[in-house]
Amino acid sequence: MAYVAIADQEHELHDPHSFVTKYIWSQDHKVIAIQYSVTAIVMGLFGMGLSMLMRLQLAYPDTFSFITPNAYYQHVTMHGMIMVIYLLTALFLGGFGNYLIPLMCGARDMVFPFMNMLSYWMYLLSVFLLMTSYFVPGGPTGAGWTLYPPQSILPGTPGFDWGIIMMLASLAVFIIAFTMGGLNYITTVLQARCRGMTLMRMPLSVWGIFVATIVGLLAFPALFVSAVMVGLDRLVGTSFFMPAILSAGQNLDYQGGSPLLFQHLFWFFGHPEVYIVALPVFGIVSDLLSCHARKNIFGYRMMVWAIVAIAALSFVVWAHHMFVSGMNPYFGFFFATTTLIIAIPTAIKVYNWVLTLWRGNIRYTVPMLFAIGFIFTFTNGGLTGLFLGNVTVDLPLSDTYFVVAHFHMVMGVSPVLVLFGAVYHWFPKITGKMFNENLARWHFWLTLLGTYAVYLPMHYIGILGVPRRYYATLGASFIPDSVQTVNVNITIAALTVAAAQSLFFINVIWSLMKGKPAGSNPWNATTLEWQTPDTPPKHGNWGPKLPEVYRWAYDYSVPGHSQDFIPQNEPPSSHSATASEHGRH
């Protein structure tokens, strides 16, 4: 088979020798994964800080003179973009994708290690460009993370002159970084799997990351071209998105462009982007649930096809973000229908997660707590998606706090719970140390309960009609004072959640210094990354000989077997035929 030639090369082309090549200009996928993750988490902390400023303003308007309307909208914009792109996309693909794909597929590294390294450094450059916008005249753009023109490039919006340019440049560089990484992930999955690792034996983590990467490679170009076109409209005076309009009473030199065209391009990227984040999350949480429930994932093939179906459908639902955008309202029929159809494969995934736990032997380890917490929050956030995806139901709820609550439950809290669950799950492999169990449990409970206290009430003030993206809501006769009270409560809950995240960082630092040695496979997991000869895995991952795979990734509690798990690379001879046969369906 073709892939063996790549995976089995005996000499290593990029063996690191010095500190610099080992940890800085590293081409090792594991080091790059950690570089990606650390950078993304630093960005996430910054984004969380911005959200705290927003919460302070909403709870205590008329208090903080440093949060002006301009500043508030800059916080809104930067918070959204950082969390979606620079935290979640970068972390799940650049971080977990990089770490897990070669190890779970039984490869020594990514197929193009040098390009993999470039991908990280381009990502870092994009982060640098983004942060530069705090130092240009006018500060960062405050156009909202959707960056809708004409507003994003006209006076009246903060950062309309320089901030928006920095944002667009940063996004363009990010997309280049993503493309270099993404080509690597796909090629590695397709070409560098070890002997016996058929596609239908791959762990769902790899499936999720693999399909999300394909979605990303198809969706990001739409954002790239729209970024370039907005940049041209702003700098050169083209009119891609700009009709003949006034700005502060002046006639501008634009003519004939369409603001709606931008929205279509943006959401053609923007909706698949939701699944670029969600699919790796779906995959990873499946593996956490199966491993810690000591039970095979329920309906593996259905899970794979659900991932593929969701990915395909994600390209034909984008205009549900535009039901009240002024586009031809007849589109509403089509996009409401496609959007609600996507609920079916998504619901199947939820059922199969719960059915994986059903009749299992569930260990309530920290990763399992986060995984079950995810099922709860994702069910909640997924169900509110059925409101917003259905065009008529969206009508009163669109642009209100209901939307904010929905997408934070489904795309904020849920992925972040899996993110932490995954970090706790793989921490022993990445560092060789166990984390502090008590701190991690406190971290879980405060995060789950705190975030629910933040977002549950938001749905209801959204139903009342309180609009999102408002610096202050006073002066509207239909908004009672109780909304201000609930805003204070939400802010207190949000500050608690933010403070609770320090437990995670304390835990990481404490465990790196004082954690107990983890051993190579503390969770008794079946997948290949737990079967490496060294923990943490050394450069090249597998020592002299690549692993060979004989079974699927979910041989837990196989009847007639003394242990409750069988590693993927354990030969079939010593076990009953039923178990090993299963991997060949």
């Binding site: 003179s65 309009i245 095979n296 309906g299």
Partner: protein, 450 residues
């Protein structure tokens, strides 16, 4: 164990919150009760799924917790179960989707007898246009927009002459008559949303969008912009007043047509000079202002702004709040101006007065003020000279003590709190950004440098 208990408690708490929450839809004021019905159907379907899935999850979490001698079931798939679950989900989805699509079919199908009203959005205010007797809107063109033609109306289009133009953020509708709102933006994206109507739609520059509804309740409702449109997005407010047909007709008859606006008589500064003799007692012979008498400088003021303020004093939008001592002094004088012609003549005279610098009395941190002013400048101009297109007067060259007092008035709702004062209300909202006296001093100290 704790996890199962918490999941059950969270579900129960959610259900209790749902029914006990004081926050729910505003009372319906339009024909779109069917929209509420689809929301309610969706709540029942999704609520049932939410409870079932999570209760089952909690049950599984307790029942199948780890025990040393237990072994998990080895069951890779169960096609029958998966098939059933898929089928039931599809039915549930269809039950939500079908009514939604039926209602949407009504929403996109405007009744033939719907009256047309145009809502015009701009950063950050609303104006409205009725087609007049001929029932046809006149042509508009962004290039015709000027201080004398705020709607950009084409003077050559006969259909436009009888168009009724409504400035100042408030629109009226007759109850129980279907109305089609045509939505037009002068500058960026906006959104026309009235919560009790359950309908909303974006305004997109370069095209006309629409929505329709039949108001079923009389009263005044807030119009909110719900598409981020820049710094003062949150302050872009309007009012829609629904009233009985005869009241509506009376109100409409009081609004000017385009022909009337275009034909306003030429102002006579000489007549205005005679009127100004009264003003000069407090405001000074050259309109230079007099702090001891609390009379601000009027010289250098923009004509359109002076007219609007005299109008506001005359018609009870300013100088009626009892805390507004100096405004209440002004109101009776404005009342002596007989009509619009008298106001125009007076303003024409004031416009000719010499615009001399004012004495500065306020000190503050100019650098801090500069940062704060970046927000103010979006309407008042970064140079502080005012922008008529944004309904924002000059700030540079105005008495600084007057600016401070007005900021305090806005903040306390003493100014801008009167119904009908849409522009004042915007400043009430904006003043939230200046929490303390120091903030006001800083921003005014910066304005002094402009």
């Amino acid at each position: 164990m704790a996890l199962a208990v918490v999941i059950v408690l969270l579900v129960i708490a959610t259900v209790i919150f749902h029914f006990a929450s004081p926050w729910w839809f505003t009372p319906l004021a339009s024909n779109w009760g069917t929209v509420d019905n689809t929301v309610n159907i969706t709540f029942w379907v999704t609520g049932t799924v939410f409870i079932l899935v999570n209760f089952f999850l909690a049950y599984v979490v307790i029942k199948y917790r780890y025990r040393k001698d237990n072994q998990a079931l080895y069951e890779p798939e169960n096609k029958k179960l998966e098939g059933w679950l898929t089928g039931i989900t599809a039915v549930g989805v269809a039950a939500m989707l079908a009514p939604g699509l039926f209602v949407w079919a009504k929403f996109v199908d405007v009744p033939d007898d719907a009256a047309e009203v145009e809502a015009v959005g701009q950063q950050w205010s609303w104006s409205f246009r009725y087609p007049g007797k001929d029932g046809v809107f006149g042509r508009v063109d962004p290039s015709l927009f000027s201080v004398d033609n705020l709607f950009g109306m084409s003077p050559d289009d006969p259909h436009g002459q009888d168009d009724i133009l409504v400035e100042g953020n408030e629109v009226h509708l007759p109850v129980n008559k279907p109305v089609k709102f045509l939505l037009r933006s002068k500058d960026v994206l906006h959104n026309f949303a009235v919560a009790p109507f359950r309908a909303k739609m974006d305004l997109v520059p370069g095209m006309i969008t629409y929505l329709w509804l039949t108001p079923t309740q009389t009263g005044s409702f807030d119009i909110l912009c719900e598409e981020l449109c820049g710094m003062a997005h949150f302050a872009m407010r309007g009012i829609v007043t629904v009233e009985e047909e005869n009241e509506f007709q009376t109100w409409l008859a009081g609004q000017p047509t385009f022909a009337q606006v275009a034909a306003s008589p030429k102002a006579d500064a000489v007549t205005g000079q005679a009127t100004f003799a009264v003003c000069a007692a407090c405001h000074g012979v050259n309109g230079e202002g007099n702090q001891a008498l609390n009379a601000p400088k009027t010289a250098g003021g923009e004509g359109w702004y002076l007219k609007r303020q005299l109008h506001s004093f005359k018609h009870g939008l300013r100088g009626v709040n009892e805390k507004d001592i100096y405004g209440m002094q002004m109101a009776p004088f404005a009342a002596t101006l007989a009509d619009d012609a008298a106001i125009n003549n007076l303003v024409a005279y004031i416009e000719g007065l010499p615009n001399n610098p004012v004495q500065q009395t306020v000190t503050g941190d100019i650098e801090r003020g500069r940062n704060l002013y970046a927000n103010c400048g979006a309407c008042h101009g970064m140079d502080g000279k005012g922008l008529w297109s944004q309904n924002a007067p000059r700030l540079a060259g105005v008495n600084d003590w007057y600016l401070i007092r007005q900021l305090q008035n806005f903040k306390q709702g003493v100014r801008g709190g009167q119904a009908g004062d849409g522009h004042g209300k915007q400043m009430v909202l904006m003043s939230v950004m200046l929490p303390s006296e120091q903030d006001m001093n800083d921003v005014v100290a910066y304005i002094n440098t402009l």
